[in-house]
C-alpha cells in the first residue's frame, strides 16, 4: 500500500522535497506515519504538538487509519491573511 506525502513551508525546507510516495503498513495511523517520517528531522516534541494533518484535502485526526492511494499533507501552523 502506498500513500503520497506532501510537505509545506518549514517541513518542505527541512525534508528538501515537496512530495514523496511512501509504502505504509496495514492499519498504520497518521500519527505512526508521522513518527516514522518526520521524527528524525524534527527531534523536539513541541513541533508535533502544533502539527495538523490533512488526508485527501480534509483535516484529519492523528488516529486516522491510512488507506492505499491517500494523499497526506502535514500542516504546520498556518499563517494566512
Amino acid at each position: 500500500m502506498k500513500v503520497k506525502l506532501l510537505f509545506f513551508a518549514m517541513i518542505r525546507e527541512k525534508i528538501g522535497k515537496d512530495e514523496v510516495d511512501m509504502e505504509i503498513f496495514p492499519g498504520e495511523t497518521l500519527e505512526q506515519l508521522t513518527q516514522r517520517v518526520l521524527a528524525p528531522a524534527f527531534p523536539h516534541a513541541r513541533f508535533f504538538k502544533s502539527l495538523l494533518y490533512a488526508v485527501n484535502e480534509e483535516y484529519a485526526g492523528p488516529q486516522t487509519i491510512l488507506r492505499d492511494g491517500d494523499e497526506v499533507a502535514f500542516i504546520p501552523p498556518v499563517a494566512g491573511g
Binding site: Y59, P76, A79, G80, G81
Partner: protein, 141 residues
C-alpha cells in the same frame, strides 16, 4: 456566487469588489490584508506565501458555505497571493456583498478570522539579515 482564486500577480482589488457587486445588495464589505513593514519589533522587507492549492479551494468553499448559513449575503470573493511580495502589496483580499451593511460587515470579519485559522497558507518573513516562517495558532478541524 463564489470567486476563490490564487494568483502570483498583484491582486486587482477593484476586480474582487466588482465580482460580488449585485443590484440586490446595498453593501459590499471588504478586507484587504497588506504587507506591513514590521513584525515583533523587526523590520520586514517582504513576505513569501505558500499555499496547498487543492485543499485551499476546498477549505475556503467550506468557510463561505458556513458564512452563508450565518448571514444574509449574496456573493463572496477571496483572492490569495502566492510567491514573493513587497511591503504594501496585498496578500489577501476578501469581498462580501449583502442587502444591508450589518450582515456584510459581520460576515467579512468572520471570514478573515476563520481563514486565518483554517486555510492551508504559510508565510515566510524576510528581514535584513535572515528570514523565518511565521507561526500562528491554528485551529484546523
Amino acid at each position: 456566487m463564489l470567486l476563490i482564486k490564487i494568483t502570483k500577480e498583484n491582486i486587482n482589488r477593484e476586480e474582487v469588489r466588482r465580482a460580488v457587486a449585485h443590484p440586490d445588495c446595498g453593501a459590499i464589505a471588504t478586507f484587504e490584508g497588506d504587507i506591513r513593514n514590521h513584525n515583533d519589533g523587526k523590520e520586514v522587507l517582504g513576505l513569501e506565501y505558500e499555499v496547498y492549492e487543492k485543499m485551499f479551494q476546498a477549505e475556503v468553499k467550506k468557510i463561505f458555505h458556513e458564512l452563508a448559513q450565518r448571514w444574509e449575503v449574496k456573493a463572496c470573493a477571496l483572492v490569495q497571493r502566492v510567491g514573493r511580495l513587497d511591503v504594501g502589496e496585498a496578500g489577501i483580499v476578501i469581498a462580501v456583498s449583502s442587502p444591508h451593511r450589518h450582515s456584510g460587515m459581520a460576515a467579512c470579519a468572520w471570514a478573515i478570522e476563520e481563514f486565518k485559522k483554517r486555510a492551508p497558507v504559510w508565510k515566510k518573513e524576510y528581514y535584513l539579515t535572515d528570514a523565518q516562517w511565521v507561526l500562528c495558532n491554528h485551529g484546523g478541524k
